[in-house]
């Protein structure tokens, strides 16, 4: 199954924040020669990305976005009754970062808070949880805070992942409204592919130790990382995505009964420009309907879909627009959604 539809609930506002430190990828020659990294960057299309400093967490980026959103939209802190924090780079292993954000944002202690620990598909998962809680009548206004500091996860000495990922945070306000009409979601998971994108140590299966933080040469190319750095098997992920993401796309289109040309924008997870270009070609979607931020923010995991909406669709969602969202990555998990936006308030991107 994994197919869900909703009526009259949607996103009324989104804000985003990114770290102010810009990494110019072509000049990012700390460990590799410029001519070697050029080939990688040309293929993945990430020209710039943002890196949080040592003291800045995902939660700080989300806090900045949320503060801006609530202030600009003139939403009282008392009105928020559910806060969902989406991240795989939380502040602590416990407590959940969502609880810390309840206090920092001065939300009521009757606020429901929890974290969702998923990657590149997670914004879609977060939306379904928020929509479901609203439809169930449990809550009226939901704040989804979605943040990542992937720069702290991947080794800069591993060329397979060292040029791809960036940091960012968003805040989205979800509420009821007849203007939103119907929305449709398809969500999927395949744990047999858990090793394709993974941080092997630092959890409770392989607890942190002197060995797990030790950097090692991991392959014949001289890439270096520790067991607590992220690892990605790019070819396997690519091969999976080009097969399964189009299948899920058509599955959701069939389920929703809508016609593809009625979709105004297709917002894909910003994996890298090679994957995204391939998907666009395979699905025969016109380029002007595909907003992209891979060049300036890189792959920000779960943040990339809403960050792309804020960055590229501000001033384009005043009137009714239909969006298709497609997220895929670590887990592996993947999903597709069709949502209508109407009068969505979108802020400028804040720098932290």
């Amino acid at each position: 199954m994994g197919l869900i539809s909703y009526c009259n609930v949607g996103i009324s506002g989104i804000a985003a924040a990114v770290p102010k430190q810009i990494i110019n990828n072509y000049e990012h020659d700390l460990y590799f020669k410029k001519e070697d990294i050029k080939e990688i960057i040309d293929k993945i299309g990430v020209k710039e990305r943002r890196f949080a400093d040592k003291n800045t967490c995902s939660s700080d980026l989300c806090f900045a976005a949320a503060t801006k959103l609530l202030d600009k939209m003139n939403i009282s802190r008392d009105e928020i009754d559910l806060l969902i924090f989406i991240s795989q780079t939380p502040d602590y292993r416990m407590p959940a970062t969502s609880v810390l954000l309840q206090e920092r944002l001065k939300l009521s202690t009757s606020t429901i808070t929890f974290d969702i620990n998923l990657g590149c598909s997670a914004f879609l998962y977060g939306l379904t949880v928020a929509y479901s809680m609203i439809i169930a009548g449990a809550v009226k206004k939901v704040l989804i805070l979605d943040g990542e500091t992937r720069s702290k996860v991947y080794s800069q000495k591993d060329r397979k992942t060292g040029f791809l990922f960036g940091d960012g945070g968003v805040a989205a306000l979800i509420e009821r409204g007849e203007r939103f009409g119907k929305s449709w979601f398809s969500l999927n998971s395949d744990g047999s592919r858990e090793s394709l994108i993974k941080i092997n140590a630092g959890g409770y299966r392989n607890m942190s130790s002197n060995e797990t933080v030790m950097e090692n040469v991991v392959d014949e190319y001289g890439n270096i990382r520790s067991d607590e750095n992220g690892y990605m098997n790019g070819a396997d992920v690519f091969n999976f995505v080009i097969r399964e993401v189009p299948k899920d796309f058509y599955r959701l289109i069939e389920y929703s009964g809508i016609e593809v040309p009625t979709i105004d924008y297709f917002v894909f997870h910003q994996a890298n420009s090679y994957i995204n270009g391939f998907l666009a070609k395979k699905l025969k979607i016109p380029k002007e309907k595909i907003p992209s931020t891979i060049e300036k923010y890189g792959n920000t995991s779960s943040v990339s879909i809403p960050l792309t909406i804020v960055s590229e669709l501000k001033n384009k969602l005043d009137k009714h627009k239909r969006l298709l969202l497609s997220g895929f990555g670590v887990g592996l998990t993947w999903g597709t959604a069709v949502i209508d936006m109407d009068g969505c308030y979108i802020t400028d991107i804040a720098e932290v």
Binding site: N239, I242, R243, Y274
Partner: protein, 76 residues
């Protein structure tokens, strides 16, 4: 089919078709890397409709293996 595969493989690996021989081990080409591997997978999918698990693909070593793969799968 053989010619079509060789041309497509050459394009994916940024080589000349004349440099590609049926009995070559394509994984040994200088231009074969983790980056160009993506282009080969993309080419198999879009030009030949081949959907293949990596575990299976990793068993394919030679140009001839790929010719057999696309001959068995392609409806074109």
């Amino acid at each position: 089919m053989k010619e079509k595969l060789i041309n497509a493989l050459a394009e994916a690996l940024e080589m000349e078709p004349s440099q590609i021989k049926q009995l070559d081990t394509f994984r040994d080409y200088e231009n074969y890397s983790s980056l160009t591997e993506l282009s080969v997978l993309a080419m198999l999918d879009s030009d030949f409709g081949v959907e293949i698990e990596m575990e299976e693909f990793n068993k394919y070593k030679t140009v001839d293996n790929l010719i057999h793969l696309v001959s068995g799968n392609s409806s074109k």
